[in-house]
């Protein structure tokens, strides 16, 4: 199945490059069969055989669409999984990409990682939703949001004190390498608030206070925007489960505003819109 997709992918990309429909294909490559897959940028038709598709294709490649170095290569085709595809929708909503200037090659995804990544357990976007060309076929599961938030529910069963103690332990390991930020398609700011110093809103030090402030900021700046690709969590060298923070905001958006980021381009974004009847039972 995946090897069929891989072959189709190469053919599609060869055609796109040969017909000069695009200047570059942003896809996955791999040096050795059991090695990690990583992003590659193919500009010549004869190189398309470097493209691979398998369950080690973790990266959310849409993070590259807003990068100057990649933009300078010209019009891109991009390989996306269903979850990555949701990021395209958000980027378009936020006017970060011109969808007409990008060829989106969707690949049917049965899940990544061995064992499967946590995000894949309740995935309902095995098939990319907005791709220009879609390769392969996997039935989309039903949106089982209860399953999607199961990990968070289990976590929230703890007391607030236990939760605080947990995060303190997690944040003590954070070294502020900002891999979580750099890998995220939604963290496209030219200058992140943590890199601004007039005023210094977040301590740059990687102590637990500064780390808490940073992770609150990172997570909340994703509120209603995070598409749950979990790349931040995958790449964290300290193994911090940022997914839980993202999930809490995703669930909040879902619960209170019936909103899931990147599912509907026409939906008014959670932050940036409002309804007069929004709940306010917590306001004195």
């Amino acid at each position: 199945m995946t090897s069929d997709i891989q072959e189709q992918l190469r053919q599609t990309c060869r055609r796109l490059l040969e017909e000069e429909k695009v200047d570059v294909v942003i896809g996955y490559g791999q040096s050795t069969a059991d090695g990690p897959a990583y992003p590659v940028f193919i500009t010549a038709p004869q190189d398309v055989d470097r493209l691979v598709w398998n369950d080690r294709c973790f990266n959310n490649l849409t993070a590259y669409l807003t990068r100057d170095e990649v933009k300078s290569l010209g019009k891109p085709a991009i390989v996306v999984k269903g979850c990555d595809d949701r990021a395209l929708v958000v980027l378009e909503q936020e006017s970060q990409i011109n969808r007409d200037e990008i060829v989106v090659i969707g690949v049917a995804c049965e899940g990544v990682g061995e064992p499967r990544a946590a995000k894949c357990a309740a995935c309902d976007v095995h098939m990319p939703r907005t791709a220009d060309e879609t390769l392969g076929e996997v039935p989309n599961g039903p949106a089982d949001l209860e399953a999607a938030y199961a990990e968070l529910d289990a976590f929230m069963a703890q007391s607030p004190e236990e939760r605080m103690a947990y995060w303190r332990g997690e944040f003590e390991r954070c070294v502020k390498c900002y891999a979580c930020r750099e890998v995220c398609p939604m963290c496209y700011c030219n200058r992140c608030i943590v890199d601004k110093n007039r005023p210094t809103v977040i301590d740059t030090s990687a102590h637990v206070k500064g780390n808490l402030a940073w992770h609150v900021t990172r997570a909340f700046h994703q509120a209603g925007r995070c598409v749950g690709c979990d790349e931040c969590t995958r790449v964290c060298p300290a193994g911090i489960n940022l997914r839980l923070l993202n999930l809490s905001l995703a669930r909040a958006a879902d619960k209170h505003f019936d909103y899931r980021a990147g599912m509907d381009k026409e939906a008014a974004p959670v932050i940036g819109a409002y309804r007069e009847e929004d709940k306010e039972d917590f306001i004195l």
């Binding site: 905001l249 909040a252 929004d278 306010e280």
Partner: protein, 146 residues
């Protein structure tokens, strides 16, 4: 004062310029006494009250934080408070997940005419925080960070 070993809670109130700040002013001119534990920080609008300010207040030793602005429909900038409300709805869930003590974060609508409500709100929050005691968990976290 109370049985809590003379603990005086520090409360930071981020208030909007057009309603709650004037409400506080009114409380003053009407000589409505409220606890001196509150530090009022005036911002243009609740829509400007960045969530980072809430974190900053805790970092600097606040035992509780109040965010307050105009009632729905009364925003000087038409909809700043509606936007703020949305953000708080989401932000509260994040803070809850992090295990931040939700009894220490308060939101209120207090208009320029509600000096009395300002007085009552501050009094209530102060007493509630006094009962909770100092926010030790956050303080320890900060002390571990020097």
């Amino acid at each position: 004062m109370s049985e809590t070993n003379g603990f005086e809670p520090k409360i930071v109130a981020y208030v909007c310029n057009w309603c709650t700040y004037l409400g506080a002013d009114l409380a003053g001119t009407n000589r409505l006494e409220y606890p001196p534990n509150v530090r009022i920080i005036r911002l243009p609008c609740t829509g400007r009250i960045d969530f980072n300010l809430v974190i900053k207040a805790f970092e600097m030793g606040a035992d509780a934080v109040l965010v307050s602005g105009c009632h729905p429909g009364d925003c000087h900038y038409t909809a700043g408070n509606y936007h703020a409300r949305r953000r708080w709805i989401l932000f509260r869930e994040l803070l809850d997940t992090l295990g931040i003590d939700m009894n220490r974060i308060h939101f209120a609508w207090i208009s320029a005419a509600e000096g009395k409500k300002f007085q009552e709100t501050i009094t209530e929050i102060t007493e509630k925080t006094r009962a909770l005691g100092p926010y030790e968990a956050y303080r320890q976290l900060c002390e571990a960070s020097s």
